[in-house]
Amino acid sequence: MLIAILCVPIGVAIISAFLPSRLVAPVSVLGSLVTLGLTVALIAGFDPGVPGLQNVVDEAWIPGLGVRFQLGIDGISLFLVAMTALLWAASFAWSAWRMPDRPKNYFLMLGIGEFAVMGAFLAQDLLLFVLFFDLMLVPFFFLVGSYGTGDRIKATIKMMVYTLVGSLLMLVAAIATAILTSETTGELSFALSDLRANVLPEGSQDWIFWFFAAAFLVKMPSFPLHGWMPDAYRSCPLPVLALLSGVLPKVAAYGFLRVVLPIFPDATIQFQELVLVLGLVSILYGSAMAFAQTNVRLIAGYSSIAQLGFITLGVFSLSSDGANGAVLQMVNHGLVVAPVFLIIAVLAERYGTEDLREMGGAATRAPVLAVLFLIVTMATLAMPGSANFIGEFYILNGLFDEKTAYAVIAMAGVAMAAFYALRLYQKTMHNRLPAGVESREMSLRDASVLVPLVLVIIGTALYPTLILKRGEASVQDKVGAVTAAEEPEGGLAAKP
């Protein structure tokens, strides 16, 4: 099952590279729908009560180096995988309607991208995770560099260098973890379960923790490491940007939950405050910047920084409520931000600009588009009733018990989200139409992509338990790894 989810995207991508150009787009879209179908089947067959892995695949890969081809799924990755498949299908379809130049390359790269992200979510071997994590970059390098706008080559190289600086250090850190562990166990293994069973002594956890954290924080991007984001967002083609912003940061947040918390519990406790501060600064900085931007892409981009700040807070609240909310919020944010970028694509085509000051009045003759955008906006600002509200509520709730001050400040972020989200909606949809632009309803083709996405948003809003219930057991397991490490010390300190 998991093998199929992994192989369908890459298989279809490679096959379609040898098909006549005409067939490439339909075959690719079909392939992405098949992947989506597989993930739905996966959800249906998932047993919510089990905290551990399901559908495990475990094959030898490079025996000499202790690397195994180990896949598995649990409540944390389940919906992230489904979200990935959904957004990729949307992006494939959107791109297919607007046939890009050199479609073979384009769809091949998208397929490799889906393969890599799926691999990162499913990998249960640390090295395999690092491999897929690095591989993710390659297709995006080509997509931004070949199909982007503006100063795309500079932007794409900047993105590559920034993110690989983190990832390569992570590779060293992963290797060091396995080697140091093997010195106690006597056997070299990168399997997450083995590494978790024999955590490292605290001293070596520290630097390894930061190597991993650097990779993840760059990818998110978190506050001081977001330098690549504005350029890359400005240049990236919009259907690709929906993925770059919707899915890729989640792999990083997921990495914290999957790798850092269970394997480096002591370092996690030690640096909890620092990461929380980074998360908090990201929220405030992202929100403020989102409010100040006039480029619509960057508004959504900076709002992502803020949202990812929330997710970081949730993960590092080290409470099961917070982490549970973070998992829900990861799915939510992906579902919300992707349609935002696609709607931006519609608007940009209509206005011929991406400057907020030159937009307005799009809603006058386009009620359906306006309604869709309104729903998405409401979800972005976490209106009560949306799944984002529940996600943020869980995160703040989890944070409140232990770190009240952070929770209080983070509340400000919730309020600021309302500002920038509504500003984006109002300035594009309401007000007066600029001269020479006509308000038109979006085409059926665009609706065929946007409507299902919005329906899914509504679905998760109505029934978030679907995600929460399946995530709960696994999240508790991961957070429990840290709290278990905390107790011996915390217990002693608390007693007198």
Binding site: W61, I62, P63, G64, L65, V67, R102, N105, L127, L131, F132, D134, L135, L137, V138, F141, F142, G145, S146, R152, I153, T156, I157, M160, V161, L164, V165, L168, L169, L171, V172, I175, A176, A178, I179
Partner: protein, 516 residues
């Protein structure tokens, strides 16, 4: 006793020597066949293929054997055989590359192809000897046999000034390296009283620092080897020579020389100087780190692809040196895994450069590949894969190789060197990606090519023919085939690395077995 031995016919292990014998015979045959006149290219190529095929086959036949040959002067083991096989692979690859190459096709004498291939094969023979050398004398003989033909080959494009310059420069610097090395070997012999690696091992004891003779000897030897391997700070000749030499020769030199020289490097340091490991490890680690930085930073601003690969080769040599610094079996295996992978990716890159040199008038300038992705994706893909692999991105053999090397250095308590490899890789991305960006993200360079300096024709008096180095518009199908195979292998061994891991798995044990 000695007399009695002298009167007995020496016992020669012909089976163990068979790869060397095959190369020697092949060398003579190729040289003679080269005189055939009209059909010389086909005949010479066929004869070379057969000779390399025989040598490779015999090496594979001997794979797994372990023996001392010729009274212990040569050591037959997997370490030597793997290095020999890598060299042979490169040489085979260079055969089609040399077709239509000026130095072979339009050589002044009658046997251009024969001479070219015979020189190449002599160099391979030197590499085989060097990889098996277990004795200071053979060490030096092998190294010279490897180098001298290369000096000639670098200058073999007689009508191009830079090629002559390259040959001369390589000759001078290379001789300096050889002399330094020889001087060092003499010191080591003086200090330890033996020319055999195992004898030296017994002679030096545990500390190098105790005996200034040995210390000087080791330092000079390491310097000489570093010259050959273009390890910084002994690398200055590399970019010039790489750029000036005919591209097929550069392709051969970049990989095969490294394979053989690293084999003897590993053997010399870990067998002969094994007990003093603590003394040389930090020094070599420093060399590796300097090399990684110098190579990667130097490559950043290059616009000639061959220079760029030259600098990148300096950095890559630094990565590989980490395998020796680690001083464990995993390190040696990592080194040879990386070398094998490096062979595939580098050959793919050089082949594409060769093809473009002949198709366009830009020589090896980066402009020659601009817009290649749109124009000729079938050429752009191999070069893209090669660059991604050199940068060590996942999905390619380069990633597994780096993984292997970092794992070995961390296991050998050189975590900081592992971090250096990662840092070097980051810097390297900037220039490897620039090449990819040129191919896929920039339009083709359209304006008329002006004859570049390296293409400038010498006057007819000096043997000039009035033509440019390349013939624009030539299609090179055979080379393309080889290129695709190399690129495919790069990806294949990145996804399924086990065959290559198995191939090198015995090299680590070879070291311990030879003194055990």
């Amino acid at each position: 006793m000695i007399l009695a031995q002298a009167f007995n016919a020496p016992d020669v292990d012909y089976a163990g020597l068979s790869p060397i014998i095959a190369l020697t015979v092949g060398l003579v045959v190729v040289l003679l066949v080269g005189l055939a006149g009209r059909a010389q290219r086909a005949l010479v190529s066929a004869a070379s293929f057969i000779a390399y095929g025989a040598a490779a086959g015999l090496s594979i036949w001997q794979f797994g054997e372990e023996a001392d040959l010729v009274s212990g002067a040569l050591r037959l083991d997997e370490l030597g055989l793997v290095a020999t096989l890598i060299s042979i692979l490169c040489a085979v690859f260079v055969i089609p590359l040399s077709w239509r190459e000026e130095s072979a096709d339009r050589a002044p004498g009658p046997g251009g192809h024969g001479e070219f291939q015979a020189l190449l094969m002599a160099s391979v023979l030197g590499m085989a000897l060097l990889a098996m050398a277990q004795n200071l004398v053979i060490f030096f003989v092998g190294l010279e046999l490897l180098s001298v033909p290369l000096y000639v080959l670098c200058g073999s494009a007689l009508r191009r000034r830079v090629s002559l310059e390259s040959g001369l420069k390589y000759l001078i610097v290379g001789s300096l390296g050889s002399a330094t090395l020889l001087y060092g070997l003499a010191f080591i012999y003086g200090g330890s009283g033996s020319t055999d690696f195992t004898g030296i091992r017994e002679g030096i004891g545990a500390g190098l620092a105790d005996d200034p003779l040995i210390l000087i000897g080791v330092a000079l030897t390491a310097t000489g080897l570093a010259f050959k391997l273009s390890i910084a700070p002994f690398h200055q000749w590399t970019p010039d020579v790489y750029q000036g030499a005919p591209t097929p020769v550069t392709a051969f030199m970049a990989v095969a020389t490294k394979a053989a020289a690293f084999a003897v490097f590993a053997r010399f340091f870990e067998v002969a100087l094994g007990p003093a490991v603590g003394d040389w490890q930090p020094a070599l680690a420093a060399l590796a780190a300097v090399s990684i930085i110098v190579g990667n930073v130097g490559a950043l601003t290059q616009s000639s692809l061959k220079r760029l690969l030259g600098y990148s080769g300096i950095a890559q040599a630094g990565y590989m040196l980490a395998g020796i610094v680690a001083a464990n079996e995993a390190g040696i295996e990592a080194l040879f895994f990386y070398l094998s992978a490096y062979a595939f990716m580098n050959l793919a890159a050089f082949a594409v450069i060769t093809i473009r040199e002949r198709e366009t008038g830009f020589g090896d300038d980066i402009r020659s590949i601009q817009g290649l992705g749109r124009e000729r994706p079938i050429l752009a893909w191999p070069l893209t894969i090669a660059m991604l692999a050199l940068a060590g991105l996942p999905g390619t053999a380069g990633f597994i190789g780096k993984l292997y090397l970092i794992e070995a250095s961390v296991a050998g308590d050189f975590t900081w060197l592992g971090v250096m490899i990662a840092v070097g890789t980051m810097i390297s991305l900037a220039y490897y990606l620039r090449v990819i960006a040129a191919m896929w993200m920039r339009p083709a360079y359209l304006s008329d090519p002006t004859p570049e300096a390296h293409n400038r024709v010498l006057p007819a008096m000096a043997g000039g023919s009035g033509e440019l180095g390349g013939t624009p518009g030539v299609r090179c199908r055979v080379i393309l085939g080889f290129t695709l195979v190399a690129a495919f292998a790069t990806v294949f061994f990145g996804v399924i690395p086990s065959p290559l891991v198995d191939f090198v798995s015995g090299t680590g044990e070879s070291i311990t077995a030879s003194f055990g």
